[in-house]
């Protein structure tokens, strides 16, 4: 079964410092990986995805993620954190079940809370 692990329940970083939110995955076949962000009482917002190609994926709001096949990781990064980046971050992997019919099931991690202090 496909799965993702977000080993950190919370990440604390000072504003202006680089941030990393970790994600590791387990899939059969080629991984399709996603990052989403959720602000309090809001839906999830799509940040970026990796399907194929360059291992460094750039996304919204200055975020990027590095795909590492040998370490089965897809860590989310940002060079300089903002207080407004404080939110809940979810990593997800596509489950290939149903993909031939156009249905895409995502398996989500448990989320990592990012707190950026002023």
């Amino acid at each position: 079964a496909q799965s993702v692990a977000q080993p950190e329940d919370q990440v604390n970083v000072a504003e202006g410092n680089p941030l990393t939110v970790k994600c590791t995955y387990s899939v059969s076949g080629n991984p399709y990986l996603f990052w989403y962000v959720q602000y309090p009482n809001r839906g999830l917002q799509f940040l970026l995805k990796y399907i194929t190609g360059d291992n460094l994926v750039k996304g919204s709001y200055g975020f990027e993620a590095e795909f590492n096949k040998s370490q089965t990781s897809f860590h989310l990064k940002k060079p300089s954190a903002l207080v407004s980046d404080s939110a809940l971050y979810f990593c997800a992997v596509r489950d290939p079940v149903g993909v031939n019919t156009g249905f895409q099931k995502l398996v989500f991690g448990t989320g990592t809370r990012l707190l950026v202090s002023p």
Partner: protein
């Protein structure tokens, strides 16, 4: 551009009462539609998905049901709510095999 709406934003219902949550998508046709539940502000659980009108697949057995009466409308229902149905319900849409985009969510509290 595409937008997704959920109604209502918040809902407080007594145990045993019925439920109807609505999700509508604008700006696209024949989307895949999904209902998720998020408990305790963390993990997301896929409840239902639909690849077309009248086509509903359930991921987990439960007290809820879903319907898709129109191409861009997805409804989550229950005949009798349980305390355990409380949570944050998220609707999402995608094009075939593509990125999922989420609505703003409905906070349901069952008392």
């Amino acid at each position: 551009s595409q937008t997704i709406h959920q109604w209502p934003a918040t809902l407080v219902q007594p145990v045993g009462s019925p439920l109807s949550l609505e999700c509508t998508v604008e700006g696209t046709s024949n989307p895949n539609l999904y209902w998720y539940r998020q408990a305790a502000g963390r993990g997301l659980q896929l409840l239902f998905y639909s690849v077309g009108i009248g086509q509903i697949s359930s991921e987990v057995p439960q007290n809820l049901s879903a319907s898709r009466p129109q191409d861009r409308q997805f409804i989550l229902s229950s005949k009798k709510l349980l305390l355990s149905d409380s949570g944050f319900y998220l609707c999402a849409w995608s094009r075939r095999g593509n990125t999922q985009y989420f609505g703003p969510g409905t906070r349901l509290t069952v008392l």
